[in-house]
């Protein structure tokens, strides 16, 4: 038995039944899932959550499904790591890393949203799932979809790097490479979604898909022993993740699991694609689209669908936004790796580097508790580090040669 009342337009408030639809017929605003929180408050307690398996479905009453979870039964519940080495480096007392570089099965937070999207697609009775993607989402739809027995169509720009293509192809989806950029692929997909009865996770299933991001927030609260941190730093592409993590905190407060909520939200973007942070810094609610130019490709959405709401969450909570250059992104990746042993993709470099700036400028207090969201694994974007790592020591297979190197390192 479900806890969902229906769908509602975030802009004009018009209500709709639970169907695979994603925009308001009247004003084109995004549709959002509405829950029966009174009923959830009675059904979901800390003890009930703690008694369940360690995956994202332990919060299932707050997820938009009617029946039992069907996909991603091992996804989520990633580690929240107390990052003392990084904290010392950045000069703060309490820092935690929410580590989605190890999400199951494809090593990014997309495994959360796709788990929810495909469970919903099953409930709707779809036999085919699809997405437009340049990376993490494609991998997750390909993998989760394989396990769940869906036919899969994944649309990518034809210019995508070979390594990212292989990481989807291995699961044998129908991979369609389109002669165009990401925005053109996305536009084509919305036309296809109109014509074919498929579950496009980031189009007609989006209201349900996006709710999966909340599980990252629920886990943060639970892993901090049911407390909310002072600050959360979230990387922004469409802005959906930040909006949903904020929503998850508010929901835990609403159903009484969280007693006190005073968290500030901070948006992290690459300077080469920072429409949300620009709006935050200029204190305007107009999100002006940009043409992305950054190595942080997983964040390169120039016209972010949830930018308005992400900016609103930041403002409402008293947070701020920061943006960083490609060089700072690489330094951020390296800093996280050498202090905490976590290899994040470029988006993680953005988050670390922005956190550093936010601390240096006093936006994040040095004696406060901060959580940073690391959303994807660095093994996927290794090319970004080419020429920026330390060197290999090449030697002959002789002890003397090795000791020669030891001497050099000792210097």
């Amino acid at each position: 038995m479900g806890y969902v009342l229906g769908l509602k337009c975030r802009e004009c408030g018009r209500e709709y039944p639970v169907e695979p639809i994603y925009v308001c017929e009247f004003c084109f605003g995004p549709l959002e899932v509405v829950y029966d929180y009174k009923k959830i408050k009675k059904a979901l307690t800390k003890n009930k959550i703690k008694s369940r398996e360690k995956n994202l479905w332990r919060y299932k009453e707050l997820l938009p499904i009617d029946g039992e979870p069907q996909v991603g039964l091992d996804s989520g519940f990633t580690p929240l790591i107390k990052a003392d080495n990084l904290a010392k480096e950045l000069g703060v007392s309490q820092l935690y890393v929410k580590d989605d570089t190890v999400d199951h099965p494809t090593l990014s937070f997309k495994d959360r949203v796709v788990a929810v999207a495909l469970t919903k697609a099953k409930e709707f009775g779809f036999d085919t799932v699809a997405c437009a993607s340049t990376g993490n989402l494609a991998h997750s739809v390909s993998a989760h979809g394989a396990k769940a027995g869906f036919k899969r169509f994944v649309f990518i720009p034809a210019t995508l790097e070979a390594s990212k293509i292989v990481a989807s192809l291995v699961y044998e989806p129908n991979l369609v490479a389109v002669d165009g950029n990401y925005d053109e692929v996305n536009r084509l997909c919305s036309e296809i979604a109109n014509k074919y009865k498929w579950a496009f996770v980031n189009i007609n299933i989006r209201p349900f898909y996006a709710e999966g991001s909340k599980t990252q927030g629920f886990e943060i609260i639970e892993q901090l022993d049911w407390r909310a941190p002072d600050n959360v730093v979230v990387p922004c592409a469409s802005g959906s993740l930040l909006t949903k993590v904020w929503k998850s905190f508010k929901e835990f407060k609403k159903i009484g699991i969280l007693k006190k909520l005073d968290t500030k939200f901070f948006a992290a973007q690459a300077t080469g694609c920072s429409p949300i942070v620009t709006a935050i810094k200029q204190d305007t609610d107009v999100i002006r689209p940009v043409k992305p130019d950054t190595i942080a490709k997983s964040l390169a959405i120039g016209n972010p669908a949830d930018g308005f709401y992400a900016r609103q969450a930041v403002k409402e909570t008293g947070g701020y936004g920061e943006d960083v250059s490609d060089k700072e992104i690489i330094d951020g990746i390296k800093l996280l790796a050498k202090t905490e042993g976590i290899f994040a993709e470029t988006a993680g470099g953005v988050t670390v580097a922005c956190t550093k700036k936010l601390i240096e400028t006093g936006k994040i207090g040095r004696d406060e508790m901060t959580v940073i969201c690391i959303t994807g694994n660095g093994l996927k974007t290794q090319e970004a580090l080419a020429g920026h790592t330390t060197d290999v020591h090449y030697i002959k297979p002789k002890l003397a040669a090795f000791e020669e190197i030891l001497k050099k390192i000792g210097k």
Partner: protein, 91 residues
């Protein structure tokens, strides 16, 4: 030769199923106002209080008007205007 306006599927009910209609030269917001005279109801779907709705994207010859002068962008005969509901993202 007038301005060619491409209507998205969800709005074609208001244009008697037509995918393309003719629009008036001038500013974009004026074009929307004029369009509403021929196809009543279309104006409030696309705009509110003289502003294009947040989740509606308008392109002139494939360029987003927010890269131009937004609502004040001027279109002339021969230009092609596309009205496109914002597409949900997520890479």
């Amino acid at each position: 030769m007038a301005v060619k306006v491409r209507i998205p599927t969800p709005l074609q009910r208001l244009t008697q199923g037509k995918e393309d209609v003719e629009g008036a030269p001038g500013t974009i917001i004026n074009l929307v106002t004029e369009l509403d005279k021929s196809f009543p109801g279309i104006g409030e779907r696309i705009s509110e209080g003289g502003k294009i709705r947040r989740f509606v994207n308008i392109y002139i010859n494939e360029e987003d008007i927010r890269f131009l002068q937004a609502e004040a962008t001027v279109v002339k005969d021969g230009d092609e205007v596309s009205i496109v509901p914002a597409i949900a993202g997520g890479r």
